[in-house]
Subunit: 165 residues, 2 copies
Amino acid sequence: MEDIHTGDASHYLSDEQVRQGIEAMFFAYRGFTHDPDRILATMAYGRAHHRAIHFIARSPSTTVNNLLGILGVTKQSLNRVLRTLVEDGLVESRVGKSDKRERHLRLTEAGARLERQLSDAQRARMREAYRAAGPEAVAGFRTVLEAMMEHELRRKYHAIGEQDP
Amino acid sequence: MEDIHTGDASHYLSDEQVRQGIEAMFFAYRGFTHDPDRILATMAYGRAHHRAIHFIARSPSTTVNNLLGILGVTKQSLNRVLRTLVEDGLVESRVGKSDKRERHLRLTEAGARLERQLSDAQRARMREAYRAAGPEAVAGFRTVLEAMMEHELRRKYHAIGEQDP
DNA sequence: CTTGGAATGTCAACAAAGCTGACGTATTAT
DNA sequence: ATAATACGTCAGCTTTGTTGACATTCCAAG
């Protein structure tokens, strides 16, 4: 019996299994963004706005630079999104207190309202998937996702919601 | 059976837990596409080409219409991608035998080579994540992802790799 | 056999959201 | 004083998505 898999090839590491995981990831991500996308399509906003709003809500008073690191886009790209959000009164940009070069971002009341609307839709699907899959599956889900992240992003993932970023 | 999964849904269904899952999904998807993206950036191709190549490899002789349903884009968008792939000799488009309106798509030798290169990179990360997380986590991962899909996409997900689509 | 509709391809125009490069302006650090 | 940092902005380009319109080919129903 020849073993095409060099080394420790258990059954769950077969190419076929891994491929199915890749496809599951692809299809699931579509579901993941589907509900917020539908809401955003009715306004002049897109997925990029959603991401900015999400992480500003999660880390109130975050700086532009910090947000850049989380989102992984250029400042020009983020600035375009942020500018419209500030103009539309959804995000507030305050000059830093200790370091006046920094801008600290937070949602306004209207921004928080939109965030809640988007978040509710996205969480509803996630919650239903969690409920259907059960707590052990959820734990595994989280474990694998974390293992898939880039090293640097895993660090940032854990830092979110903490006091001193 | 003690700690977190007590049958009491309140813990793992808390907003905080669900939000963390959403963020994990966001960061993990970046890792998921990172390696193929790096390879594609050295050529004149992007993520859209990768997706087309992947699903043509998985369902040889698939039709354009079938591919449209899987990828969820417009025919114009897919056609642009497909045209360059055909022109570059990575994909072959054959007129259908029973229904001559249909075009059946398959990878050429060169196309299969690129597919392997992209697939190897993506699978390596996936495989490593699977290995690190362990088989039970992988099972949970797959279960939750499937529960996150849109109904119609879940159907398509299961249909891939079967004989009669 | 004619014809309606399905599957496909293609043209044009546009939008969202990413990118690079260059430059300006505060502000802070050295 | 000078250098580095944080931010904003202008200009231009790319990828990948969208509509809408239209031609071609072909199957199937009348």
